[in-house]
């Protein structure tokens, strides 16, 4: 029974460690889903992102974006069941026919699976109320079009920092996992005598042991982008 208990604990912790990767499939590249109804802007954003070593999937509408993510209700069409296609960042135009970027943002933030993915809104119009509502709804940033190389460089830095924080968290989770597994395999007498140690371990582990306390993926790095 002790062996079975160890197995399920190990599996649970492994799940926790594996699931929150900011990178896709272990490669160093981040994958951006870019959404824009303008073919010129799609071409431009694709080149901008690729020149900063992002992987890019560009779609022409909010509907297509949701289809790609598998949020359109058609479970079988999701492309992101596989690690390689995991999306790390979504960049969407605001003014699009059909579903606006704001509506897309809301749908993403309402979904359990994707609400942690940072969403950046792009717009050619500097409308304060629009910017405010997007940020309120959880957008990471609001960029004025045309998007520039410097905007993308800042995004890359943001993603890299978030990823480093995530890796820090993961390695400390892994250390705790190794510790816990070790303790479970210790003979009962040894566990009894070190029970106070175990308690200390678990209480200190409930605070994030990594040096940067929260992942920037969930808290914004900068709130406004007014010109």
């Amino acid at each position: 029974m002790a062996a079975a208990g160890t197995e399920s604990l190990r599996w649970n912790l492994a799940e926790e460690v594996g699931v929150s990767g900011c990178n896709g499939s272990g490669s160093e590249e981040f994958h951006v889903l870019a959404v824009d109804d303008s073919i010129v802007d799609r071409k431009l954003i694709e080149r901008l992102l690729k020149s900063s070593s992002f992987k890019v999937t560009a779609v022409d509408s909010g509907t297509r974006a949701l289809q790609y993510l598998g949020l359109d209700g058609e479970k079988s069409t999701s492309a992101v069941g596989f690690n390689d296609l995991k999306v790390n960042l979504i960049m969407t135009d605001y003014s699009m026919p059909g579903m606006t970027g704001y509506e897309l943002l809301k749908k993403i933030k309402e979904s359990k699976a994707f609400k942690e993915i940072p969403v950046v809104i792009m717009s050619s119009e500097n409308v304060l109320t629009r910017i405010h509502s997007c940020l309120e709804e959880g957008a990471e940033d609001f960029l004025m079009k045309p998007v520039k190389k410097s905007d993308v460089t800042k995004l890359k830095d943001f993603m890299v920092k978030g990823d480093q924080a995530e890796k820090g968290k993961r390695s400390s989770i892994k250390r705790k996992m190794d510790d816990d597994i070790l303790k479970l395999t210790m003979p009962p007498t040894a566990i009894a005598s070190s029970s106070s140690e175990v308690e200390d371990q678990s209480s200190s582990a409930s605070h994030s042991p990594s040096s940067s306390s929260s992942s920037p993926c969930s808290s914004p790095c900068k709130r406004t982008r007014l010109q």
């Binding site: 073919i39 010129v40 071409k43 431009l44 080149r47 190389k149």
Partner: protein, 156 residues
Amino acid sequence: MDVIQMQRTWVEYTKSLYREGYLDSQFAQLQLLQDESNPDFVVEVVSLFFEDSERLLNDLTKVIDQQQGVDFKKVDAHVHQLKGSSSSIGAQRVKNACVAFRSFCDEQNIEGSLRCLHQVKQEYYLVKNKLENLFSLEQKIVAAGGSVPVDELGFL
């Protein structure tokens, strides 16, 4: 013309396009995004702009020509798109003409809108012609074994 002369002509022509306001700094951003692994980027994105714009201008002409009454919402939507794409490639005069156009749409002013459509078309065909000249010169330079002297533009 030899390569050096063609390169000099290219630099002068490009500078004049910026000076006369046909192009703005966004076009320079496009030039910066072009490199050995993406040597045709500027031509590609500008070609997309040409196709997209001609479609929009055709649609605009049809919508404004409606005898039953002009759907200004539609007109504005098209002009907004054209404004966006011209801004994205740095076609400054086209973009500015679109900005003026939108204010007439807001006023639901048919006369003003017709004048603006004419203006936007003029600016579009002007910049199209100029960019085509530029690209043609670039092709000749490359065919003659030279490279396009983007770094000689000074402000990049």
